[in-house]
């Protein structure tokens, strides 16, 4: 048989494209509807955060970390302040530790809700999107009443938190957790349980365990490929070793399992928050920290389990109030490299769905 060839279609998807989650751009080569080659292009949202850090003092950089993965900003705060505290050898009060866990896990739930919403939207399930955003509002309200902002929360400080949650925080949190199972049931009914969704996602975009490990994929994408790896368990930070929770792992390696894994993680996060609510001690939320933070000379790396993957900060300190060098290892930036490999041979619609399962946030990708 002769070489099969039809006219190749080169399509420039993004940076302005409805399904590109911001300003991601990929040059996709199509044979009909089949993807034959993908060239991802990043950098449209590059703000030079790593360089900016060198001209900001340590506390001043915290608001910038909000702008990394802006759907789970407390997590970025947490990763950064933990790194600085590790560098300084700082102990923080117990109550602050518990509150950090609560906010981090709330942020995980919020981030995963946005994931479900955008996943549903990318396969045109408009109403599921609206429901997820409706319920995410309640988490954002919790953030707002505590830290004063909804999206760029800026809640963590080196040595603790920006403030004690107000009194109305606890009943609101409890009622949210109580309503959560009902919400998840609704998402399942309208999105996961739908046969069209399952047909769209099951068996699509197989990311094998070996490939995932070789590409150093992290986070839910990795765990959906059957690898039981979670920084919270593998290298517990903060007080995560005190909580009883499972790391959900799925073995399907496909888009559907990557999507469903987020739902499992929401359940586990809710479990952690409940335990933290039960055990939280009274006390201060801020350690004694000098006004001008001057960590000792040295370098440090610390990582946390961000909703999107492993988020690590590497800081080199020269003893001045400003970091000499700061490097961010962001989860989706690494995860996104699976796209040109995994999405090959699938259809255009699958490409959109596979990209959506990565839950890419361009703030984190482009830094």
């Amino acid at each position: 048989m002769a070489v099969e060839r039809t006219e190749e279609l080169i399509l420039n998807m993004g940076p302005q494209h409805p399904s590109m989650h911001g300003v991601f751009r990929m040059v996709v080569h199509f044979d009909g509807e089949i993807v034959t080659k993908i060239e991802p292009k990043v950098g449209y949202l590059h703000r030079g955060l790593e360089k900016l850090a060198e001209s900001r003092t340590y506390p001043q950089f915290i608001p910038y970390t909000d702008r990394l993965d802006y759907l789970a900003s407390p997590h970025n705060n947490l990763a950064y302040v933990l790194t600085v505290e590790k560098l300084m050898g700082l102990q923080i009060p117990e109550r602050a530790e518990y509150l950090r866990v609560i906010f981090a896990e709330l942020a995980r739930i919020a981030s995963h809700l946005v994931f479900i919403a955008s996943m549903a939207l990318d396969i045109a399930g408009w109403t599921a999107w609206a429901y997820c955003f409706r319920d995410r509002e309640r988490i954002l309200d919790l953030f707002e009443m505590t830290a004063g902002s909804r999206l760029t929360v800026n809640i963590m400080r080196i040595g603790g938190l920006s403030g004690e949650p107000p009194t109305e925080f606890w009943p609101a949190l409890k009622s949210f957790l109580d309503d959560l199972p009902e919400m998840l049931e609704e998402y399942f009914g309208i999105f996961y349980g739908n046969e069209i969704t399952q047909a769209r996602l099951k068996g699509i975009g197989i990311l094998s365990k070996e490939l995932a490990e070789n590409l150093s994929i992290t986070g839910p994408v990795l765990r959906a490929s059957g690898v039981n790896y979670d920084v919270r368990k593998a290298e517990p930070y903060g007080i995560y070793d005190r909580f009883d929770f499972n790391v959900p792992v799925r073995y399907g390696c496909d888009s559907y399992d990557r999507t469903l894994l987020r739902l499992d993680e929401i359940i586990e996060s809710a479990k952690i928050i409940r335990q933290a609510m039960r055990d939280i001690p009274e006390g201060s939320v801020m350690a004694k920290v000098s006004k001008v933070i001057k960590p000792p000379v040295g370098e440090v790396y610390h990582r946390v389990e961000n909703p999107k993957g492993e988020l690590g900060f590497y800081i080199v300190s020269d003893g001045s109030p400003k970091p000499a060098r700061l490097r961010i290892r962001s989860g989706t930036f690494i995860n996104i490299q699976m796209l040109p490999i995994v999405a090959l041979g699938w259809k255009m619609q699958d490409l959109v769905a596979i990209f959506a399962t990565l839950d890419a946030v361009l703030g984190e990708v482009d830094k």
């Binding site: 002769a2 070489v3 099969e4 060839r5 039809t6």
Partner: protein
């Protein structure tokens, strides 16, 4: 001059369509265009069938039946023709009939 629409008028329209199709068949290089020309000729024939039926056999529908069969044949012809075009295009990367000078592909 009588402008009433008689049989010969219809037949003349058919003849024009047929000749145009024939012309296209001769001069077009693109296979798809040649298929289109053939469609034109078949339409001309159909028009004649229906016209003859209407004028010369007003109590029977044999012309219509013939036209229906021609439409079926045209559909089959288009399907096979286009399949051939795509098969040839795959190996030769051209739709130009002048370059279809191999008896194999």
């Amino acid at each position: 001059m009588n402008f009433s629409v008689g049989l010969s008028t219809y037949l003349l329209v058919g003849a024009m369509l047929f000749s145009l199709g024939l012309y296209g068949l001769f001069v077009k290089k693109n296979v798809v265009a040649i298929l289109m020309s053939i469609e034109l000729m078949l339409n001309a024939v159909n028009l004649n069938f229906v016209a003859f039926n209407r004028f010369l056999a007003t109590d029977r529908l044999i012309g219509n039946v013939a036209a229906l069969f021609v439409i079926v044949l045209a559909a089959a012809e288009v399907a096979v023709g286009l399949a051939l075009v795509i098969a040839i295009y795959r190996s030769r990367q051209t739709t130009n009939v002048d370059e279809f000078n191999w008896l194999k592909w």
